[in-house]
Amino acid sequence: MVFSILVLGAPFNSQSAYSAFRFVKAALESKHTIYRVFFYQDGIHNSSAIATPPQDEFDLYQGWQDLQAQHSLDFVTCIAAAARRGLLDDSEAKRHNKDNSNMAKQFDLSGLGQLVEATALSDQVITFGQ
């Protein structure tokens, strides 16, 4: 089965981001395909490069980054949702005249069209959050 995943919750603040992470891992272990993971609304915070959870807690940020690298997954973060919440990659930081970027390189900033495309090309879209 080809899945796409929509993540709407931020780590720590809601359980949904962690549940999404567990679902993606389980789906891959069961030989399903993850076409895309799309991060929207507060879910964009999952792609932070600078979030630093306490050392005795599970680091979901690092978890996503490792999972992406391990399976070459397509992680897309909504560019508009990210910009209004203070998450920018290098080129967006430059474009908006900000001193710093703060997005992990395992994620790509793009538009909602990527979510629409994923719904058309996947058997199922599973939403986590809301």
Partner: protein
């Protein structure tokens, strides 16, 4: 973009207009889906009914007018817009902005909207 099949997307809106970003961000998704020529329906239910009131004055809280923004939907090919009749009754909302061209639906009809959709997004 590859050649996607035409999807039947249902966007269910349950949030009051200015209490969170849900109204704006669900509208953004509807516009994107319309732009990519998907078959999109929108259902307003619960407190989302308040998004449909005419004469909103959100300037006083430095917000953009949501019912004005909803008016652009048909330009993007999104014309199937529904509101749950019971939600309106529960809130004693007598009329929605008539410029929005919204169809009232019963509980049975909204169930059909869910059944006919290939993907449902809730906000």
């Amino acid at each position: 973009m590859n050649q996607p099949k035409t999807n039947k997307i249902l966007i269910v809106n349950q949030s009051a207009p200015y209490s969170s970003g849900n109204a704006k961000e669900s509208l953004d998704l509807a516009l994107a889906a319309g732009t990519f020529e998907q078959d999109v329906s929108i259902l307003f239910t619960g407190d989302a009914c308040y998004q449909l009131l005419a004469a909103q004055k959100p300037k006083e809280i430095d917000s953009k007018n949501l019912s004005q923004m909803l008016k652009v939907l048909p330009i993007y090919g999104v014309e199937k817009i529904f509101v749950d009749e019971q939600s309106l009754l529960d809130r004693n909302i007598k009329g929605v902005d008539h410029n929005l061209n919204i169809k009232k639906v019963s509980a049975n009809e909204s169930r059909e909207l869910y059944q006919n959709a290939t993907t449902v997004f809730r906000f």
